[in-house]
Amino acid sequence: MLSKTGLIIRREYLERVTKKSFLITTLLMPVVMLALMFTPVLINEFSESEQRTILIVDATGEVEPEMHSVPSITFLPVADEAEGRRILDTESAQGVLLIPDNIFENGANVQLISSEPASINVESAITSQLNSIIEHKRMAQYGIEGLDSIMAAVESDVTLRTLEYNPEGDDKESSTLVAYALGMVLTMLLYMCLLLYGQMVMTSIIEEKTNRVLEIVVSSVKPRQLMIGKICGIGLVAVTQLLIWTVLIAGASSLILPNLISPETAAQVEALNANALATSDATANIGMLQAISMLGNVGYILQLFALLLLFLVGGFMLYAAVYAAIGSAVDNIQDAGQLQTVVIVPIICGIIFGVQAASDPSSTMSFWTSLIPFTSPMVMMARIPFGVPAWEIALSLVVLYLSFFAMVWLAAKIYRVGIFMYGKKPSLKEMIRWIRYN
């Protein structure tokens, strides 16, 4: 037979998991996450797709022939500024570029008369072309023979491959970019779960209090059992959701990904994993290969999610306890607003330090914030894809779990008093005083 706490957990869990909305959010969340990740790319795509025509009034007669149109900008020569302005009036062009005759000596006098707010994309396209034309021209003045072929040979495009130092030799391939992306995704995921499920605990407690079902439940179980049962039940819902995502992603990685990539790419990934990829292999896009290698590694993904699960549980219990204490003290959601800052501020700090840690995972700040319980889940998840010593993860988890036990204990004391307080909105100070009540 289930214990009373077990019965509460079961009820809370089933009530949520059997809802249609649970299934929908579980399946939709990854889609939303992907959409969020790709939104900046998409926005960029769309903003560049607009066609612009820029008219060039070239006083030197040497620059204009060298300007080449790019996909989003067409360059056209015009005789003088007056004609350019006339064309601007007909709206068949968006700008007139005035190139002075002394441009090769002094590049400061170039003007763009624009009929619309200047766009950074347009400006940078123009200045980069002008710069290279001017540089070329100036170099030509030195009369070096075969300049074009020299320049072509000199041109460089560096790709950096980072290898993680391994004292036993055989350094491991690591990718800062992939780790960064992964760290951000994990941090965001954790942040959303903590906020969403933490608030669910609070709302559910307020609801129970408002519709007075609480009175009946506590005549059968201790308030502490009810609170812990509720937190655990909702926590299990979060865990279930995470497990579903793990299965989906692991499934995608082991079944779908191999069928999507070409045999050559697969071979390259294998070579990369064996650390035998020819450094001169020009066709290889190292970043993409690394990403495929990481995502295709089911073992790695499972390991990552196992850690995510541990931090989710610890972080959730910690925050849910605070949310529970707040929920018990107020009669409706509106009143909770002010008290909620107590938990929202640390969560937001967590995500800020987490983002920070994703760009500099080994800084002192990242180290400490990944140990402090309120920020540790999010910061640690941002750091883990870069590789974090096992002892640090273990220490962080121990600190997190100890503090959640302490927090649940404190919250239960506040909860026990709070649930019977109706009518007035207590201050934080008053709530802390409740801890000492019998």
């Binding site: 037979m1 289930l2 009373k4 019965l7 509460i8 009820r11 009530e15 519709n211 007075r212 079902v213 609480l214 009175e215 009946i216 439940v217 506590v218 005549s219 059968s220 179980v221 201790k222 308030p223 019977f420 019998n438």
Partner: protein, 305 residues
């Protein structure tokens, strides 16, 4: 044998004293009325009996031993402010509460079927609570309260929100539970229902026990010096004539020209004196001992304290 003993229980909150050294004993198998004005401390006392809150000092004994958490399995509580989980189905919810009280799932299901059948609500089983009306939800709640056959039942304003037919049904069920051996603590402001079903009462005011006793005995005691005369004739003359032997009186119309006067006699007045005086002034249609209602007792006692 008392099923419940409350001994010198005190409970203080931050700014006020909710219960001030209260004591009472509930005999097994009786219906016990817990009365008192709003804010008297009844709910706090009920919460202590339910082991929801702990008293600051004093002792609660249940069925011969100090009250523990395990005893709540033998207590059924119907709070005044009622609520159920809105999104949960009626049947599932009733089973959930029954299991919290320690019943097995199968046992709960069988018992519930019987009760649902008795109340004619078997077709609500798969409905969500939010689909029920307030009265319907209260019926479900009543069943949930009594399902685990508790030794002690606590009803806080059980009749509020019920129509007269369902209130009568409920009253019969409460009396039936008593007949089967359950003890009932009954908290209400409806004094007529107290007269009807309570054996004993305790009246609480400002956290203190100000009156305890058997309902019949209390009514007898408070009826002392109360007489009722129905008559025809000059009312004012009678009032003036009775003035030396009465402390107070009230008049009511008895129909067909007759008047009823309820009098509280002066301490030293005799029945003979009163009857004599009345007989000399008016035509007496009836003369009887007056009977104090619980309502009178309530108002009189609270007013004095």
């Amino acid at each position: 044998m008392d099923i419940l003993n409350v001994d010198n229980v005190t409970k203080n909150y931050a700014r006020h004293c909710a219960l001030d050294a209260i004591s009472l004993s509930v005999p097994e198998g009786s219906v016990y009325g817990l009365l008192g004005p709003n804010g008297a401390g009844k709910t706090t006392l009920i919460r202590i009996i339910n082991h929801i809150t702990a008293p600051d000092s004093g002792m609660v004994t249940f069925d011969g031993h100090p009250l523990t958490q395990a005893d709540v399995a033998h207590i059924g509580y119907l709070p005044e402010e009622r609520g159920l989980y809105k999104k949960m189905k009626v049947g599932d919810q009733a089973i959930f509460f029954a299991r919290l009280k320690g019943m097995s799932s199968r046992e709960a299901r069988t018992e519930l079927r019987a009760w649902f059948e008795k109340f004619g609500i078997l077709d609500w089983w798969d409905k969500k609570v939010e689909e029920l009306s307030k009265g319907m939800a209260q019926k479900v709640q009543f069943i949930v309260t009594v399902l685990h056959r508790p030794k002690l039942l606590i009803f806080d304003e059980p009749f509020s929100g019920f129509d007269p037919i369902n209130a009568a049904l409920l009253r019969d069920e409460i009396l039936e539970l008593k007949r089967q051996g359950s003890t009932v603590i009954f908290s209400t402001h409806n004094m007529a229902s107290v007269e009807e079903i309570c054996d004993n009462i305790t009246l609480i005011n400002q956290g203190r026990n100000i009156l305890t006793g058997n309902v019949a005995e209390l009514r007898e005691r408070f009826s002392k010096g109360k007489y009722q005369i129905t008559f025809t004739g000059p009312t004012q003359t009678l009032i003036d004539a009775l003035q030396p032997v009465t402390e107070s009186y009230s008049l009511s119309d008895a129909g067909s020209g007759a008047v009823t006067i309820d009098i509280n006699a002066a301490p030293d007045a005799t029945v003979r004196q009163i009857l004599q005086t009345a007989n000399d002034t008016v035509d007496i249609l009836s003369f009887q001992k007056g009977r104090a209602s619980m309502n009178d007792i309530f108002i009189q006692t609270i007013g004095k304290s």
